[in-house]
Subunit: 502 residues, 2 copies
Amino acid sequence: MANEWATFGADLHLELRGPRLRAGLMDALREAVRSGRLEAGTRLPSSRSLAADLGMARNTVADAYAELVAEGWLTARQGSGTRVARRAEPRRDGPRRTDPRRDGARPAGRPAGSPSLALPRPSTPAHNLKAGTPDLASFPRTEWLKAYRKALTAAPNEAFGYGDPRGRIELRTVLAEYLARARGVHARPERIVVCAGFMHGLMLLGQVLRSRGVRDVAIESYGLGLHAGLLTGAGLGTPVLPFDERGTRVEELSAPGKSGRSGESREPRESGGLGSVGAVLMTAAHQFPLGGALPPDRRAAVVDWARTSGGFVLEDDYDGEFRYDRQPVGALQGLDPERVVYFGTASKSLAPGLRLAWMVLPESLVGEVVAAKGAVDWVCGGPDQLAFAEFLGSGAYDRHVRAMRLRYRRRRDQLVAAVAAHSPDTRVSGIAAGLHAVLALPPGTEQDVLRAAAWNGLAVQGVNQFRRPAVPATLDGLVVGYATPPDSAWQGALQALCRVLP
Amino acid sequence: MANEWATFGADLHLELRGPRLRAGLMDALREAVRSGRLEAGTRLPSSRSLAADLGMARNTVADAYAELVAEGWLTARQGSGTRVARRAEPRRDGPRRTDPRRDGARPAGRPAGSPSLALPRPSTPAHNLKAGTPDLASFPRTEWLKAYRKALTAAPNEAFGYGDPRGRIELRTVLAEYLARARGVHARPERIVVCAGFMHGLMLLGQVLRSRGVRDVAIESYGLGLHAGLLTGAGLGTPVLPFDERGTRVEELSAPGKSGRSGESREPRESGGLGSVGAVLMTAAHQFPLGGALPPDRRAAVVDWARTSGGFVLEDDYDGEFRYDRQPVGALQGLDPERVVYFGTASKSLAPGLRLAWMVLPESLVGEVVAAKGAVDWVCGGPDQLAFAEFLGSGAYDRHVRAMRLRYRRRRDQLVAAVAAHSPDTRVSGIAAGLHAVLALPPGTEQDVLRAAAWNGLAVQGVNQFRRPAVPATLDGLVVGYATPPDSAWQGALQALCRVLP
């Protein structure tokens, strides 16, 4: 489909050959356009993001784009990015592209025929192990529908109107009970604000912090660029906390020098040092993507920093329900509800498509966050919130989480066993939790493995795709989202993964 | 309930007496707090908004607030607004407040007993004729549930995942067909972007226009302050187009002087003149709130301006489905789909609680709007979009709109007849359309009528609550949302309205 978004560099399935990277990139892009694999109108990743994906210098990519624009293969327009030019439309009478699903058995590194015939199309890889999505085939349709019907039938009329910006009281009441029980969160309904996903909540917090005069929100060395971008979009700097083998070095927040990574950054928006940090965004229970849990002394240290400095910890508890080797550690928020903002979501435990998430706020922030949310008056729909309240209150949510915990744990065990059998040099790092694992690769091999994966129709990402620009590359690894495929595709995806490991 | 939002000044049901306005306001507020009618923690309207509601100078209100804070009745905290102080909590052992619903028959202007006993509580007025909400009791629960069940059962798994920022293709496809048929919109699915309400769409457009270098978006003389605030929040100026008895004077956009109202504005954010206007936000089919339809020559003129200047018309078609005296005039967008951005919504035709709206974009804007929406990845939920696609595609939406059209038309006829019978000096202005009517009042009477309405437990707004600060007060009138009450409350609300008319 034209205008399809090729968001991640890996989706392009390019293979760069030879020493002259730029020429190689241009050849690969030309070939992808000529063959029709990249259709007219398709938007390419930004040069920065493609460079990061490919491990190349940004200028190399930017130069290649510029030359291809000059040659008429691509077009570049202010604000609309770089796209495949219309005049580069492939002939439709040529040979059909091979169905990538029939190529699953082709060994890595030996592509058959020309790339234009053998490669899967962008955004429809044969196997998907990208992290971030639960098994959507396991969405409990019948149970959800039952909750929805019950909620819709019993709903007061005003539930169909413009809602309270805090969210429905029915939902906040059951959430408070659930979060206290399942995550050790100090939650009261009046401290909870429902939002349409973590990003929505983070945007609101960013606005509030900025309007309070906060300059910087510290972030972890590895994480989602979208989250950092949301903070910089709110006018906040995002200095990076360094990390070591025990996780994020939160003690740097209180260190006398407070230098952080910022001095080394070539990104002006990430600079600023740790001296003016007013909040820190953390995935304490299960670092995303590296997979560690913040050790107890550092949990205490970051909350201490917040108390001493008057700052806030923004706790992104995205997959706290899933821990396989023990009881989950409670939320950081339990240590100090007045200094930690807790963010939870149904996106991993149930489905991102419901757009349901929640914040538990310190009392001092409630008014401002509600005002920020109320001023722009879109919230989750009333019926959806009531359905989720019913789903949660009836125990259906607990049952679903328990069932998924067993399923994901089994998959993780199978992943660990398969990796041990096929690739003794590869180590599964991180705790037994969540929906993804990190396979630590031998130094310098990540790009090769990612390329082999692309050739095999396997969508998967490397840890360096989550590395903040200011952080030096010291790790090689794959971030494997083992929850992503449906059961029917899991074994095939696992086999594809094993084929590409060193 | 504590912490309840008293958003509109009229909700406070204050009556100011005597020449010393500030003292009178302070007395009224003290009495409201003492009696418990304003509970501890309740947030008061901003001084600016209360001043506008009461027709007072802003400083008068701000001074009264400040003195009451000093006296300990109120608290004021940066960012959290002015609230009723906790120590001002009323004694619970006092006499019970009278149920406002039993007060319906009390004649206007003769309040019985003390205000603290006789007045309804904030935000639970006995009668509600505020515009902006359809009859929520008529939400077609059974039909919606049927569509939801069918959609959920048939949904592909990926509908539960992170969605395409444009919205579900199933919904965009049926929307394109519907909008062409019902509103004369030139719509193709690839030009449609689903959003979580008009405000969400306007925010996205504001971001895109600002990043294109647009400085100002012109707005109508009367409208919702929230919409203007969204634009100024995006960094855009909002110069005001003047109006006359035929509606908004769009020809001023192309006039040599291009002075607009801006020179007269005391609001710096509304200034800027009409010289640097890059877009204009309009309710062309049914001006909100004044109720006129933009005449054909002005429809043509505003589109001509956009063509000539390279600007855009942002068409807020919030209630285009409802016209009672003839076939609705088609959308402005039909005149030039490349220069008009069409905004539609299910908030008036179905329910605001669904958070479903859509934009039809000129081709030149699609990429940028999708990028703005995709970068912050919250969209309407997949299941909801599929349910609405099913609801629309099955004809249930058309049936619902037809039924509501009959019902609202009957209510409007009853309103017109009742006003003619009870208040010959009051004229119903505007076209027979939508969910609200404007009752034009004799000059200088609007505030009196609003105060009488408050005493009668009738929530209703005056046209001056929608007047842009830069526009001189020349009209008096009531904006009557006749769709708001359920059937069971309609006759009572109508009677309450007639009691307070001159």
